[in-house]
């Protein structure tokens, strides 16, 4: 037993790869067999990650979730700011500027609104719950944009870990509602043509939420929604820790 924990602790980052991989297999199976593909495996994996972090916090009394378990310290490195920013930047490589033009003005308008409107709502809710500092307000607002923009913004402007955890959870919850809710409201909001799918992608953001939600509505709409949604995270990472943060600071006057 000590030999096992020794080998796990000595290869911390490798252990983290294995642990996250296993978690993602389990999530994929849950997505397929329990939700019949309705909820994306990645969203389930993030929820399980948050759940495990909760148990990690309870059992160890620490502040770093599962990374406080000696065998899983590698999770802190794998999910730390360094590798996270590296991987997020890499996703921009798949952005095709030629495709971006196809979305046109209406896509750009939807993207802008899809970033600012959820942000304002998130900030207002955070303020209603008693947060008063610009860092926490901005981070929770950014979490209402997507579960990536939240933590990236929080780390950039120096928010606390509980606030960052809240912003991730908010973003994941949003993605899950989009996945489940879209088929039910599709008719009501006119989601039956490529243009409204592009508007939808730009407004909703989360690629997993949009592709899951559109796939359950009409599979043919997925590429149109994903087209605008892919720009959402990049735009959010750009404006949330800058323009939006300064706006919040200016308004609350700190």
């Amino acid at each position: 037993m000590t030999m096992i924990s020794h080998i796990l602790a000595a290869n911390a980052l490798i252990t983290a790869f294995a642990a996250v991989g296993i978690l993602m297999w389990i999530s994929g199976a849950i997505s397929k067999y329990l939700t019949f593909g309705r909820i994306h495996g990645s969203a389930i994996a993030i929820m399980l990650g948050l759940l495990l972090a909760f148990f990690g916090g309870i059992t160890t009394g620490g502040e770093k979730g599962v990374a406080d378990w000696p065998a899983l310290t590698g999770i802190a490195l794998m999910g730390g700011a360094m590798l996270r920013d590296f991987a997020i930047v890499a996703t921009a490589f798949e952005v095709d500027v030629v495709h971006a033009r196809k979305a046109g003005l209406i896509g750009a308008v939807a993207l802008g609104l899809g970033t600012v409107v959820p942000f304002i709502l998130g900030v207002l809710v955070a303020a209603a719950f008693g947060y008063t500092d610009a860092e926490s307000l901005t981070t929770i607002g950014a979490g209402a944009v997507t579960y990536i923009v939240g933590p990236v913004t929080g780390a950039a402007i120096g928010a606390s870990s509980p606030v960052i955890a809240l912003s991730i959870a908010t973003g994941v919850f949003k993605a899950v509602i989009v996945m489940i809710g879209t088929p039910f409201v599709a008719n009501m909001i006119g989601l039956n043509n490529p243009r409204s799918a592009m508007v939808f992608g730009g407004l909703m953001g989360t690629v997993s939420g949009v592709s899951g939600g559109l796939a359950a509505t009409d599979r043919r709409l997925v590429p149109y929604g994903a087209l605008t949604a892919t720009f959402h995270t990049g735009l959010g990472c750009l404006v949330a820790p800058s323009i939006l943060y300064f706006t919040v600071r200016a308004i609350i006057g700190s």
């Binding site: 920013d85 991987a87 402007i157 955890a165 989009v178 043509n193």
Partner: protein
């Protein structure tokens, strides 16, 4: 070479981070202002340049795309190391902010759709394309 892709990505990330920090100093805040977003723009620009000059090699692509495909697992690891116990005390905020954001955005999709007039639905496009496919001479070819 795979390493050239990884190196390109690393350089873009570092440059973006540096500019974000500089911007923070210039604006007088202790924060990285949009560093990740700036780095993404560098990478998009670099890809455009590489494609235009015909030097986007398979190895370079592999190097960047591997890290891109690694992003969800990294996000899972990030979620697993947060202070969720402390966050759980703020519980309802997650539900209200998350559900509220979705509700407002659904409404905006409907609003933009109504304001910008009627367009062909997916079914109509497919039936039109099916008819056009039977008349090959008039098939609308995509230009460019």
């Amino acid at each position: 070479m795979t390493i050239s892709g990884v190196a390109l990505l690393a350089i873009c990330t570092l440059l973006g981070g540096l500019l974000g920090d500089l911007l923070g100093v210039a604006l007088g805040v202790k924060a990285n202002v949009g560093g990740v977003g700036i780095a993404m723009m560098f990478l998009i620009a670099a890809r455009l340049w590489l494609v235009r000059h015909g030097v986007l090699s398979h190895g370079l692509k592999t190097g960047v795309e591997f890290w891109g495909s690694f992003y969800i697992p990294i996000v899972v690891a990030m979620a697993a190391q947060q202070n969720v116990v402390a966050a759980a005390k703020g519980g309802p905020i997650v539900v209200i902010a998350g559900a509220g954001a979705v509700a407002v955005c659904f409404a905006m999709v409907a609003l933009i759709g109504r304001l910008s007039g009627r367009v062909e639905t997916m079914d109509e496009i497919e039936s039109r394309e099916a008819i056009e496919a039977n008349v090959p001479h008039f098939k609308s070819g995509r230009v460019g």
